[in-house]
């Protein structure tokens, strides 16, 4: 009997270990493949020049258009998502604290929004764009991606806020703070490390998403200088250039993938560092 338990323990431990480490191995494998493939193309030109002779057929130049376009869209969308998401998450945790049922319902809808596939956001953004008489543009891309990532900001931040003990809120209210002061002066501060995680998670999703910008931001060889101009993005740079018959163009796709991966890695590392830094003042 005891022997059987011991064997069971051993088998389960190895299986769980394999599951864990194989995930890490897959991540390592992805990074290796992307970098090996993109390495030849990953030149200085790649990050300083736009494609020459068209992104599909021209072999020269780089993907600066997509880097800039992606950063514009992800930054703009994150900004909007934070402006909407932060008050929303605070509202759920301070003003709705008395209304548990509403709180649960709101969270349920936000979770549903989070789960909607990005291509659906893309289609919705496209419809909205046509309805408003806009063209595929930086602005349309920003709005669509903002819709896509706003639920991420709200729910991730909300998750952290909801862990703050109610006693803390009580003692702040007991001092005579209004709910708004409690939310924006204290809860925001206490939840700040979580907010950073939320922002960077949302930014990462925004910069990496192809489907939502496919119809809304369009694609171009140029760097957009106005909100109503189309914008290239890194995910679409990978998508379009990978199908090109020209080998140099295909290499550019891998370079774009490498750049995107680097950006995402930088974001997740800085998320950890920043949120640790801002954890110093919070009350445990």
């Amino acid at each position: 009997m005891k022997q059987a338990k011991l064997i069971e323990e051993k088998i389960f431990k190895s299986l769980s270990g394999i599951a864990t480490y194989s995930l890490i191995a897959i991540l390592a494998f992805i990074i290796v493949v992307i970098f090996v493939k993109g390495f030849n193309a990953l030149s200085f030109d790649m990050i300083t020049k736009t494609p020459k002779g068209g992104y599909y057929y021209g072999g020269e130049g780089g993907v600066l258009n997509a880097i800039i376009g992606s950063l514009y869209i992800a930054l703009g969308a994150t900004l909007i998502a934070v402006l909407i998401g932060v008050p929303a998450a605070l509202f759920i945790n301070v003003h709705l604290v008395r209304h548990k049922k509403t709180q649960t319902t709101v969270r349920y809808f936000l979770d549903a929004l989070w789960g909607i596939p990005s291509i659906v956001y893309g289609a919705f953004g496209f419809t909205l764009m046509l309805y408003l008489g806009m063209n595929a543009s930086l602005l349309a891309g920003i709005i669509t991606v903002a819709l896509l990532i706003a639920p991420i900001v709200v729910r991730t931040f909300d998750e952290v806020l909801s862990k703050i003990p109610i006693g803390m809120q009580e003692s702040v209210l007991a001092m005579g703070s209004t709910k708004t002061e409690t939310a924006f002066k204290i809860m925001l501060k206490q939840g700040f490390p979580g907010l950073i995680t939320a922002i960077l998670l949302a930014f990462g999703r925004g910069i990496g998403d192809a489907a939502s910008v496919l119809f809304t931001a369009g694609y171009t060889d140029l760097i957009p200088v106005n909100l109503d101009e189309p914008a290239a993005t890194l995910p679409l740079a990978i998508f379009f250039q990978l199908s090109s018959p020209i080998p140099e163009v295909r290499e550019r796709a891998y370079a774009a993938a490498a750049i995107l991966t680097i950006i995402i890695l930088i974001i997740s590392l800085s998320a950890r560092a920043l949120s640790r830094r801002y954890s110093k003042t919070i009350i445990k």
Binding site: R98, S171, A174, G176, S177, I186, K189, K280, I283
Partner: protein, 273 residues
């Protein structure tokens, strides 16, 4: 202190007839207070006069409604939709349950010390400054002066004066509780509500807090919930014994502790010692 207490407690023949009520004015006057939760009558027809600038101690077994009573006094019960609070609570000439007055303004008249201290997620300095700023005090010098004064009052100044700008969460629990008391006192409340303020603290910090209460008690109306009978004896001017949502005995500590009238209180005191 002893003298003042004696004066109040010994009914002088003159005062007893004419000014009995006026000699111990109420800071808080509770009438027909009921608190219902779904399927649970938490507070049952509470009628209580809490004397001004005295310590009123709430005693009673766990779950009898002491915290709920305290929270009704500063309307923290508002945070819980399931609680239905009815009756009247008169504070400073205003029925706080049915007032038009802003609940935030109302709460500024009271300080709250909870079981576990909750300093604000900011520096020690800002913890005390926060309440002052809420009150509309902007003068930096005045704020700095007040901070020093109140941190001295709770005996924290020497311990923290060189690190006022470091986060308050670095303080020990006992120091945090004293900081919370300092920030409460800084805004000059009329009333201090304390819900087992020493139960999470080490003996040293507990006795510091207790000592502070003794020092300040002639200037504030203090409502103190405690499970520590000896603490109640040391601090109370007025003892209220609650049982299952009802007040079943109240009076001066000498009467209550020496001659409990009900079996329940006798039992409670036996178990407490």
């Amino acid at each position: 202190m002893e003298l003042v207490q004696a004066k109040v407690m010994t009914p002088s023949p003159l005062k007893a007839t004419r000014h009995e009520k006026a000699s111990v004015p109420s800071a808080i006057s509770i009438k027909n207070l009921d608190v219902h939760a779904p399927g649970h009558h938490i507070l049952k027809n509470i009628n209580l006069e809490i004397p001004k600038n005295k310590v009123t101690v709430l005693l009673g077994p766990s779950g009898c409604g002491k915290t709920t009573l305290l929270k009704s006094l500063n309307r923290l019960t508002d945070l819980y939709k399931e609680l239905n609070v009815t009756g009247t609570i008169n504070i400073d000439g205003d029925d706080i349950l049915n007032t038009r007055q802003n609940v935030a303004d109302l709460r500024q008249k009271m300080g709250l010390l909870s079981q576990r201290p909750y300093p604000l997620p900011m520096s020690i300095y800002k913890n005390v400054a926060y309440g002052l700023r809420l009150k509309g005090i902007k003068d930096k010098k005045l704020i700095a002066h007040n901070i020093e004064k109140n941190l001295r009052e709770v005996g924290l100044w020497d311990e923290v004066k060189d690190r006022l700008n470091t986060p308050a969460n670095n303080l020990s629990i006992g120091q945090q509780q004293r900081l919370c008391l300092a920030r409460g006192l800084a805004v000059k409340p009329l009333i201090i509500l304390a819900d087992e303020p020493t139960s999470a603290l080490d003996p040293m910090s507990s006795s510091t807090i207790e000592k502070l209460f003794r020092e300040i008690k002639s200037h504030y109306t203090i409502v103190l919930v405690t499970h520590i009978l000896r603490q109640a004896k040391r601090l109370a001017d007025n003892v209220v014994f609650m049982y299952y949502g009802e007040i079943i005995e109240q009076g001066a500590p000498d009467d209550i502790f020496k001659n409990p009238k009900t079996e329940k209180l006798r039992q409670y005191m036996l178990e407490g010692n």
